[in-house]
């Protein structure tokens, strides 16, 4: 029976524990990249001349193969969770930063002018107009970051980071199709759930704060 097979694999490879590890790494990596990304986006907004080179730099990092990045991080950060989280952040920073920056700069000019004309200061405008209006866009960036982070945390299994990548790696090395299918599907389901939730939040923000 399929259910029994799944349970057997689940128990044999401690998938509950692995899932917790996995989500723990995922949360830390995502939290850090979101905070860093938003801060960086705001800094780039305040210093627009650095925006293009910085975003191009992040773009270049993005094109680097993730597997190679993990390997390159070994001499710097060793193996395990730390380099995995670092890699996640490197990849997720771009979408969050880029969307924050783009959101802040692309508020409709007539709205900004109305703000100036009724007597808002530059800081009032950032706080009361630019940031709220950017929220849907920032949420979109976070949503991309969620997908990236999920993928790279799984890849971390190669360099001993634990999480769901570990049983997957074992399955690949020892040619255990059951394990590959069960773990792979589970990672997929998790990604779909998170992406779905993020999508819902993004949609709500768009309805609430979006332009019409």
């Amino acid at each position: 029976m399929i259910f029994d097979d799944v349970t057997a694999v689940w128990n044999q490879f401690n998938l509950t524990e692995r899932t917790i590890e996995h989500l723990w790494m995922f949360s830390i990596a995502l939290t850090i990249s979101v905070i860093l990304g938003i801060i960086l986006g705001i800094i780039l907004y305040q210093h627009k001349k650095y925006a293009e080179p910085a975003l191009n730099g992040l773009n270049a990092l993005e094109t680097f193969p993730d597997m190679a990045l993990l390997v390159l991080l070994i001499p710097v950060a060793g193996i395990g969770e730390v380099p995995t989280i670092i890699a996640c952040i490197i990849y997720s920073l771009l979408p969050v930063t880029r969307n924050t920056y783009t959101g802040l700069v692309s508020v409709r000019p007539e709205i900004l002018e109305a703000g100036t004309a009724i007597g808002l200061t530059e800081a009032d405008i950032v706080r009361n107009i630019r940031i709220p209006v950017s929220l849907p866009m920032i949420a979109g960036g976070i949503r991309i970051a969620i997908v990236f982070t999920m993928g790279i945390v799984t890849l971390g299994g190669i360099i001993g980071a634990g999480g769901l990548g570990a049983p997957l790696q074992t399955g690949i090395v020892l040619l255990l199709p059951d394990v590959i299918i069960v773990t792979g599907l589970w990672v997929g389901i998790l990604a779909v759930i998170f992406d779905g939730c993020a999508g819902m939040i993004e949609k709500r923000l768009t309805v609430r704060y979006g332009e019409w």
């Binding site: 109305a114 004309a117 007597g119 009361n128 107009i129 979006g210």
Partner: protein, 376 residues
């Protein structure tokens, strides 16, 4: 930083020798004029005439290359620009409501930043929404995208009024609205104007609007001031052919004696009819979505009278029927000669008349151009 109110009332605004160029283009060229406290001065001209640029130099959205704007004798560059703008109401065609904030928050934003308490803000928002005839209990929590163009413009007006400014700058505030609604908002604006008694500088390209609203009219062309004066002065003593052309005194109305009501009336559809036994509260829902603003109230097939949106909104909490709040309109027939009708309307200070045909059916409304009132 200067005091909260850089000026309490406006005695005089002097624009002296204002010039502004953008590259090779001269937007405003040596414009000097005085705005007298309490008046509504209209700046009128075609596109590129410099009217908007001139207006925007008054709240320092644009700094002139040379020349000075003084309010009550003080160079406005001596005021903190944020303080200055919070004391000048600014209403534009694009309205510029913040789409992510509801109506109440849009109106209450500056008070909130100024540190008012929540109750004080709510009370002010309430008061202003009443003033622009948007029932606060319905509209305060709505978002701009849920409002019609006319309703958005009312909210824009309420937002501009929030800090109780003594000066208003308005840039084609009714320009994007359809003609009937525009006329109606102009009417309402006139009553608000008298209520608040503020100094207003108003930009438009519509001569009819200028004549209707302006105490004085300043005609601009290609960055220069052509003539400034009262509507009568412009009609009867145009200084240039251009002014004469703009006020159209020679052409459009030369044959006015031959016109009948039928030539100028706007047809009315049955949709705009209301039953006299309809409760006022119910009528409000209908007229808020209707946008025409004038309700023709019928008792069966007989005319009971007319009533305005303003009247309906203000009476919404009283337990009345629509028939209780109607007034008797001026009624005319399509065949009536226009000039006597206009004279009658002018003496009764009515902006519209109801057109009833020989069979006794209400067929239309007569809402004449304001220019007409000035020349008859």
């Amino acid at each position: 930083m200067t005091s909260i109110h850089p000026f309490e009332t406006i005695d005089r605004i002097e624009l002296s020798h204002l010039t502004k160029t953008y590259g090779d283009v001269t937007a405003v060229s040596d414009v000097s004029l005085d705005v007298i406290g309490g008046e509504l001065l209209v700046l009128i001209g075609g596109s590129g005439s410099g009217k908007t640029t001139t207006l925007r130099m008054v709240n320092r959205l644009i700094e002139p290359d040379s020349g000075i704007v003084r309010i009550n004798g003080t160079d406005i560059r001596e005021f903190d620009e944020v303080r200055l703008r919070r004391n000048i109401g600014y209403v534009i065609q694009q309205i510029g409501l913040f789409s992510h904030m509801n109506v109440g928050d849009n109106i209450g934003l500056i008070p909130k930043i100024e540190g008012w308490g929540k109750e004080q803000i709510d009370a002010r928002v309430h008061e202003l929404l009443e003033m622009v005839d948007l029932p606060p209990e319905i509209f305060s929590a709505r978002y701009p995208r849920e409002l019609s163009g006319g309703q958005q413009q009312r909210v824009g007006l309420a937002r501009a009024l929030v800090m109780n400014p003594s000066l208003f700058l308005m840039d084609e505030p009714f320009g994007a609205l359809d003609p009937i609604l525009r006329k109606q908002l102009q009417e309402e604006f006139l009553t608000i104007k008298y209520d608040i008694g503020r100094t207003i500088i108003f930009v438009t390209h519509d001569i009819d609007e200028a004549f209707k609203l302006g105490d004085r009219i300043c005609i601009m062309h290609e960055g220069e001031l052509v003539q400034i004066g009262t509507p009568e002065e412009l009609i009867f003593h145009p200084e240039t052919d251009q002014v004469a052309h703009l006020v159209d005194a020679n052409r459009k109305y030369r044959h006015i004696e031959t016109f009948t009501v039928h030539d100028l009336m706007s047809p009315l559809s049955k949709r705009e009819f209301y039953e006299a036994n309809m409760p006022v509260s119910e009528a409000m829902a209908k007229i808020l979505s209707d946008e025409t603003g004038i309700a023709v109230v019928m008792e069966g097939n007989n005319l009971r009278g007319t009533t305005s949106r303003q009247n309906i909104v203000r009476n919404r909490k009283k337990n009345l029927l629509l028939g209780d709040i109607t007034t008797e309109p001026i009624t005319v027939t399509p065949e009536d000669a226009l000039v006597p009708v206009l004279q009658k309307m002018k003496t009764k200070n009515a902006s519209s008349a109801l057109v009833i045909n020989r069979e006794g059916e209400v067929t239309g409304m007569l809402i004449p151009d304001s220019v007409l009132f000035h020349i008859i």
